[in-house]
Symmetry: C3
């Protein structure tokens, strides 16, 4: 479970995802559904999105990974999550949790906390969400300890991503500032995190490969001076074009030494 | 009802759609709604999308064609379909059925089969959907016989589209391979199929004109080396710019001779 | 409340919106949600979109403006509007109403009329919606009198926008003809109208600054010959890039003299 995380390893996982084309079932918000589906397709995965009780078990049963995103949540999505998690647990497929602006709503924070007890492989969130969920400022120490305590991978993304499984913590510095000016980029990132869990059992490796892929694709898409509209379109193009070699060559990843994590 | 299907005839139907600007009511999935609306608008039709019981009868009552797509289906959509079909039947407007990944769910296959008994003018589907619906592999024979048996037009789309009304069967070879890497392209195609039924009573002609329009627009959009993001944007631009002359000139259509259809 | 409306004043409001980055809660239709969120983000505002009863009060409670759009309306949205308006009234935040194709449905016209009694700051609509709502053709007189009678700002948009608060009436002539060929542009415009109400108490000034911003961004985006796909993308880029100087320089605004308003 604790293989080394090198540029070559992440590059190889991108190739594996392309070869295996995993199915990812997404329970996600209506704002991000279309872009999430397009990002997964561009990368090489196959999305599905139904939340109807009559159908969701079949779709999750055919998927290799699951995303639960709490944006535009409602009663039907709550029921869909229960049905989906039951199938995911039975089939032992990994799932990723995205609390999607839970900082704005105590109710959504409560939902997110309850779901953290249902054994997600990974939590991908922004800084404000982490801070409300764990009542702590974001730094390598707080993220590492939260991951260790909960027994999962936590990725707090921003200008610099902090990713930890409790035992290993890494920093990722790729990306583009305009990602904060488009909707659904974070939601699509969590879907891609889920997709990599379909082809890699080491959750930290899967999460790092996923976040690097989307961040480097955004970086390349942003190099021609695109605004937020052009960046969204270019990000899909570059997710499609991204090669393992480019991923390996552009990756800016730093391993945090345990002694650098203060209590 | 069985006029000849020539490039000139299809080109003339595109001009007629542009002139008449038909209203198309779409009961479709939340992932494809926006792109479907944009594709219809770019082409020259006018979309509406409500599924609310209190409003759907008025909207279908003002429309000249109807789309029923089974993606992200739910109870509200099921009720909407009943209300919409009642109005469509009363007003004798044509409707198109898209089973949207029904191969993944026995329940959705059941829904699709039940709707095939409700006299759609046309079924537009992918290969896996056809194969599950009719328990047969896809070839000119199986598609032709299924169309003849059900008394409607069937279009199975892919690298090569097979389109048949049971009496006449044609092959269409335009398109672009990246269409499989964007969401909503197939759903939008079925909406455009519905739109052409608003201005053409011969369902095979309407279906061929619709599928050719979107396939040729995609072909042109893909010629500059776009990735999946650029293709989506360019497809809307080219649906808007497509002239009847370009449609006629680029069309790659083959009529299947009856003696070539094996039992 | 009746400050002068000059190009400099509108330009200054754009700068203020950029500086304050207001939160705008949007109860809007599923077709327009994504583009609306992207337009608000590109401009510099922060959108939220939930309609779930358990969460909406928290989200509206954290917002500085509210949008109510009647597209793809349903029971859940109706409940969401009630909860949102209660919070908006208590917190005295402004809200904008978009009747979204209400002309097609007597039921939706009824909803829109009932909501006009709930003290929106502004109604943004198209010509057919105004004509059905007020049973009058659109001209400076009918719009001015409707605004005066209801005590709110009314903006009827099209090739030429007519905007009035009953005391002052202006005409805005920026924009691009392809805006009629993309979905969600009008819905996004009303969201931007709501956003400017978060930073400007004079509703006519806020509405004029908002409509000018999106119209001039569209105008610039359309100058390179884009089709409807390219225009949508470019509009987001230009909303992001638009400077107060460009807004002021390109603005085509005419004040209607009271004596020119015929009874």
């Amino acid at each position: 479970m604790t293989s080394s995380i090198s540029p070559d390893v992440l590059a190889a996982r991108l190739q594996r995802l392309r070869d295996q084309r995993p199915r990812v079932h997404c329970i996600t918000n209506t704002v991000a559904q279309t872009y999430t589906a397009n990002a997964l397709l561009a990368l090489g995965a196959i999305p599905s999105m139904t939340i109807w009780p009559e159908e969701i078990e079949d779709f999750v049963g055919a998927a290799e990974a699951l995303l639960v995103n709490l944006g535009t949540f409602d009663s039907m999505r709550r029921n869909a999550v229960e049905a989906a998690l039951a199938v995911a647990q039975e089939r032992r497929i990994s799932w990723a949790l995205d609390p999607a602006h839970a900082e704005a709503s105590p109710h959504r924070i409560g939902l997110a906390r309850a779901l953290l007890d249902r054994e997600p492989a990974v939590l991908r969130c922004n800084r404000p969400e982490f801070e409300r969920l764990f009542e702590a400022t974001v730094d390598v120490g707080t993220v590492t300890r939260a991951a260790a305590k909960l027994g999962l991978t936590i990725a707090v993304t921003g200008a610099r991503d902090i990713v930890s499984d409790g035992a290993r913590t890494i920093l990722l510095d790729n990306g583009h500032e305009l990602l904060t000016r488009v909707t659904a980029a974070g939601c699509a990132a969590t879907a891609i995190v889920a997709a990599f869990h379909a082809i890699e059992a080491d959750s930290l490796v899967a999460t790092a490969a996923a976040l690097s892929s989307i961040a480097i694709a955004a970086e390349i898409a942003g190099e021609n001076g695109a605004g937020p509209g052009g960046l969204q379109v270019g990000l899909l193009d570059e997710l499609y074009r991204l090669t393992p070699e480019t991923l390996g060559a552009r990756l800016r990843m730093t391993a945090v030494r345990p002694e650098d994590i203060t209590d």
